[in-house]
Amino acid sequence: MSTLVATSAPEARSSSGFRAAMLLPGALVTFLLILFALGLVLFLAFRTNDGSLLGAGFTAANFVTVVSDPLYWTVTLRSLVIAALVTLATVVTAYPVAYYLAFHAGRRRGLLLFLVTLPFWTSYLLRVFAWKIVLAYNGVLNSALIESGIWSEPTLAFLNTPAAVVVTLAHAYAPFAILPIYVALDTIPKSLVEAASDLGARPFTSFRRVVLPNSMPGVLAAALVVFVPTVGDYVTPALVGGPASTMIGTLIQAQFGKANDWPFGAALSVAVMLVILAVVLVARIADRRFGSRT
């Protein structure tokens, strides 16, 4: 941490017992539960499934199947498209809210921030469940449309479609996107915006040339925190997606459940992590590019 470079004398007394005690809980959790557990997934991905916990013999067959079977390409592609659509929808709809919070909210800012963060802490399962009762055949939307005379009979077209998955996920992860964008917008020096308008930039120009580029780190962070959980989701496809919207998370879950092929499930997980890694790297590069402008 660059902020702590300045060494002060009392630090020298730092007792090793204190340091060890303070580092221990975090070290246990991060090294054992995160790194070692992820290492196990990687290890298992290269094993042959023989029904035992860690499999037998080393093989690359799991990855060969992942790459060669068109089913996995279809499902991976579908997961990426759904996650990309959800990310796009959440970020685009959240941006104006974050913008309002940063520049227009005034005294209402605290209350509004509170209102947009509150759903963040409510049950994800219940938020998805809510959409199930909205979109069901004899559900809220169908009955409301019939009741108001817009529709004459209920339609099956809402539930069990990829579109239902996109809408539900976009709603479930909406609160994730606002805060990073808001923080990025709020930390833009107001003098920058004022300088732009003093130099004759029209409001839209100063937004496009000053505010938007400066908020890109927040936009990218928001995109990442929405993309990662959605690309691996298996709950929403199960509840509102139907068989036509099976996602990669569904397949992983099945390998550790009904299909009972843990090594193959591990290989699928490694593939997902590689995809996420690629997305993170692209986001990093984009971040650098936008960051260098400021």
Binding site: R19, Y99, L112, L115, W121, L125, G139, H171, P203, V225
Partner: protein
């Protein structure tokens, strides 16, 4: 700062949009309480009259009661663990001046970049390897992991907001590291600690994606709800239960947010410390501070 020249222009339409957005955010969730009082087995319009009978079905349901107790116990233990880790990890990250502490802090925030299903299966492999198997302890470990990024981010922004001079003064006056931590830094960050604990509890209490892989014979409340979703007849009971959970979540989350902001404003109103460019503003959670 918000009263600037650009405040009025376009603010009106944007305000309407924000209201529409909030309606979209809350409306589907608020349908659950609405239909939980509806005298019908289906969640459909028109409403069939007011009833509390679905709430009555919640009582005396032994499977539900044991799931609730399970969730409460696991939530408290996992929140304690996650808060403890959040405090120590962020404290050592900020003041430990060691690459190890910084690494731990970075890894602790890593679960944000791992889909829940992979966290779940990686822990499933681990707990089977160490002979624990799916159990309540396994769920506690999983929930410590899931809540860790939140507690680390909250505690880190809290510790960063305490003026560095306070800690240095304590050390200069001869207090040991341990005394400084326990008598100065912990009391100053108490609201954030309570807030982190409450939010970690909520995360555990509502968590489904990871617990799905780790639960043995004793389900938690979200797993109980999941098991009931297959039966159309239990839909109203699920909605009554869901309403109760939403109400508890709202109250705890509201209290936690208020505490976090109050805690920050106690020492925050001083000029920004130029040596800490990444200091979060107004206590907002900044997941990606690099």
């Amino acid at each position: 700062m918000s009263e600037g020249r650009h405040t009025q222009r376009g603010g009106g339409w944007l305000g309407v949009y924000v209201i529409a957005y909030l309606v979209f955010l809350y409306l589907p969730v608020l349908l659950i309480p609405l239909f939980s009082f509806n005298n019908s087995i289906q969640a459909a319009f028109p409403l069939q009259g007011f009833t509390v009978q679905w709430y009555a079905t919640l009582f005396g349901n032994s499977a539900l009661t044991s799931a609730l107790l399970n969730s409460l116990v696991i939530g408290v233990i996992a929140a304690t663990g996650a808060t403890l880790c959040g405090i120590t990890v962020s404290y050592m990250d900020l003041y430990g001046r060691s690459p190890l502490a910084a690494t731990i802090s970075a890894i602790a925030r890593l679960p944000i970049l791992i889909p829940g299903v992979i966290v779940g299966i990686s822990l499933l492999i681990l707990i089977n390897l160490i002979g624990l198997g799916p159990s309540r302890i396994a769920i506690v470990l999983g929930h410590i992991l899931v809540a860790l990024p939140t507690t680390v981010v909250i505690m880190r922004s809290r510790f960063a907001a305490i003026p560095k001079t306070i800690r240095e003064a304590a050390l200069d006056l001869g207090a040991s590291d341990w005394t400084t931590f326990r008598r100065v830094m912990l009391p100053l960050s108490l609201p954030a600690i309570v807030s982190a604990f409450m939010l970690a509890f909520l995360i555990s209490f509502d968590e489904f994606i990871v617990v799905f892989f780790l639960a043995g014979t004793e389900p938690t409340l979200p797993l109980y709800i999941w098991s009931q979703l297959r039966f159309p007849r239990s839909l109203p009971t699920v909605m009554a239960l869901g309403t109760s959970i939403l109400a508890v979540s709202f109250v705890i989350a509201a209290a936690a947010e208020i505490l976090r902001h109050r805690g920050l404003s106690a020492t925050a109103p001083r000029p920004a410390d130029p040596s800490q460019p990444n200091q979060t503003k107004r206590g907002e959670l900044q997941w990606h501070s690099t």
